[in-house]
Amino acid sequence: MALPLIGVVLAALGSGTADIAARDIARYALTSAWLALLVGFLTAVTGTLAAWLVVMYRFPARGFFAWALALPLATPAFALAYGYADLFDVAGPLRSWLRAATGHDLPFELRSTGGAAFILSAAFYPYVYLAMRAAFLNQSVNVLEAARMLGCTGGRALWRVALPMARPALAAGVALAVMETLADYGAVQFLSVQTLTTGVVRAWSVYGSTVSAARFALPLLAAAALLLWIERASRRGATHETGKARWRTLDVQPLAGVRRWLAFGFCLSLLTAGLLLPVGWLIWNLAQTSPDWVRLAAATRNSLLLGFGGAILTVALATMLALGTRQWPVAARIASLGYATPGAVMAIGLLAPAGLIWNLAPGSGMAIAILLLLFAYAARLMAAALEPIDAGMARVTPSMRHAARTLGRGETGAAFAVDLPVARGALLTALLIIFIDVLKELPATLILRPFNFDTLAVIANNYALDERLGQAGLPSLLIVAISLPAVIWLTRRIATARPGV
């Protein structure tokens, strides 16, 4: 699983001359860093506030928002970019109408780092929301009550105890949002914001230079390693916050008067920004397009093929790892290295081994390319699959495993009779997460896909680059339509899960 990463480092150190100056790399890196900072800040504030409201207070539609706020996970960031760009474009219908009606224009430009930060924040705030929601739900009522007994008022207890206790979750959630920001290709490319990831893809596709691409990828790899470390370190801190104390329901405070509608409005605006407005606009625009159904059908088939294939391969490997790493915990850590690594970087790292295989077996292009692509997905998403599977299997105590042995099962038999059935919910969760992520994946697919093998994400991107936004809308919407049921199932499952059970 670490093979693509080694590939990137080797390629970057390669003797070939780069076509892109170090100055450009620094400029792109600066944009990436600024974008990551903005998205990190915006998602931290919005995600935390939403989680806090939903967990601590009662207001209209709170139960709905509890799971619906995570729904933007079903929309690829590039779909949001298409929707917003079309809506807020200088020559777009909204601004044209505004200028005609009022004589004034909106004071911002969407195709900018700020615009990209807004769109990526709208797409990625659910990572912070889900982490913080779990942390707030998990907090021990006893600790909050102890703070009250020691003289804190309710609000002060929250500020001095609950929020600091949830800090590891905040760091983990923001780290995920920033990882996704750095890995994004489709949205920033469309908004003409030059980040390291667009640099990787451009160096490869425009200049055909693996060396240049790898040099863009190196700082990304370093940032990914740093974020992964932050995320893991935070998680270690998070484990003791749930404690062994008996779990009791938090007292949910009803909000009164205007404050309940403010809370409602805030949650609704998040959901609107991340899903309803851009997706609604894309749907509205569908009427004016004449879709190429044949091409769409083929792309849908390919997307589903890769989605199911990637999910099954990744979950199968992750399950074997989860069962195997009870003996060798280090293996899981190595296999998880790919997480946080942008798909573009992963693809560049796989190009060298891919070239070798193609040279050895020239006739097998299509099958090998698809296998490589699936391998890239597995390497990139291994940790995302391992995490729920590990959590599911943590319910199996060593004594249960030993009981299965004394009751007549061998080591493998015990895994099939106890571990897998106990973790079946977690396995399904992992399958769906990987499936959704593969559907939305763009840069690795762009680089590694066989000729004439388009996925929904790829044709959406191609249409968008040709400024045919109406055409780009339908494949984007198809991705949303396919992943939405899975996301709803997942978020409702997360929302109803009681911690400590």
Binding site: S399, M400, H402, A403, R405, T406, G408, R409, G410, V422
Partner: protein, 345 residues
């Protein structure tokens, strides 16, 4: 064949980095009946249980079940092939299976009809038939334990191992659950080995005691023999409080502060007298002492006193206790077992 021991442990060693959990343990268990492996926490008794079950390999020595060697250096018969049932301290019920499926888990090789009948019979015997469709998390601690034991017995093991089975239950419930369960186990006729660190419990339930400390077996035998005729001070301490004092043996009689004790087999010279606190009573002759305090202990008072030379002794007093500062003379009850051990032990 029937008097062949069900379990033979011979010089078994199990070492972890830095310590020997089991250090040359040897004992045998007869077929049938309930035996208790008693020792303080960390003495290696749970490790020994895992070695018998086959969950860990032995480093040296042999373990034989019904005459067949199942563990030796370089040989570890897999747990599923040993015919041993193990009930874990946390019961280890499978959360994804209901009670009937948990009990039937080990019967995979049986036809569905036979399996159902076997499970129903076990549920009946352990009085949990009404819970057949319940899930483990819905059960009380006592009910979970019945399910775990029924599950372990389903495969008709020649030996059933229970790891601290009653430690999770509390107070009066513990005694009731324990007595009912032991009656059911005895009626099943299986050989049972129970690991515990509670000496009173061990003496109350065991037909045979196996005393263990620091990885070694100190003594095996009937509870009464182990209690009254311990082979060493260490073995005696496992089963309760001791009073240890110096003695001088001359011609088969030991002279002690509490009076003379006949010791026909002890060699002449200095030795030590070991008795239980309940062997000491106030009398006309013996050790003069002053009462320092007395504590109520339910059926009796435990009285602390200081004798000549600052020696501290405790004895049991059935009636009203003497006041602090009162003089008392302590002597040995005539029928009380006393042990004379060499002075250097």
């Amino acid at each position: 064949m029937s008097d062949e021991p069900v379990l033979e442990i011979c010089d078994v060693v199990r070492a972890y980095p830095g310590r020997r959990a089991v250090d040359g343990a040897s004992f045998t268990l007869p077929r049938g009946g309930i035996s208790c492996l008693l020792g303080p926490s960390g003495c290696g008794k749970s490790s020994l249980l895992r070695l018998i079950a086959g969950l860990e390999p032995v480093d040296a020595g042999t373990i034989r079940l019904r005459g067949e060697t199942v563990a030796a250096a370089g040989l570890t018969v897999a747990p599923e092939r040993r015919g041993v049932g193990l009930v874990f301290q946390d019961n280890a019920l499978f959360p994804h299976l209901d009670v009937a499926a948990n009990v039937g888990f080990g019967l995979a090789g049986l036809a569905a009809e036979d399996r159902r009948a076997r499970v129903a019979a076990l549920l009946d015997r352990f009085h949990i038939a009404h819970l057949a469709a319940a899930w483990p998390h819905m059960l009380s601690g006592g009910e979970q334990q019945r399910v775990a034991i029924a599950r372990a017995l389903a495969r008709e093991p020649s030996l059933l191992l229970l790891d601290e089975p009653f430690s999770g239950l509390d107070g009066h419930l513990r005694e009731a659950v324990r007595d009912a369960l032991l009656a059911d186990l005895r009626s099943a006729g299986t050989s049972v080995l129970i690991v515990t660190h509670d000496p009173e419990e061990a003496m109350m339930i065991a037909d045979k005691l196996v005393l263990m400390a620091e990885g070694r077996i100190l003594q095996t035998g009937k509870p009464q023999d182990c209690y009254h005729r311990p082979v060493s001070i260490a073995a005696a301490r496992l089963l309760g409080d001791l009073v240890v004092t110096e003695a001088v043996v001359t011609g088969g009689v030991a002279t002690t502060p509490f009076g003379a004790v006949p010791t026909p087999n002890a060699p002449d010279g200095t030795a030590r007298l070991v008795v239980r606190p309940d062997a000491l009573i106030p009398g006309a002759s013996g050790l003069p002492a002053t009462v320092t305090r007395s504590r109520f202990a339910g059926g009796f008072y435990l009285v602390d006193a200081t004798g000549a030379g600052g020696r501290h002794v405790s004895y049991r007093c059935a009636g009203d206790p003497p006041a602090a500062g009162a003089p008392v003379t302590l002597t040995l009850r005539a029928d009380a077992p006393a042990m004379i051990v060499p002075a250097d032990e």
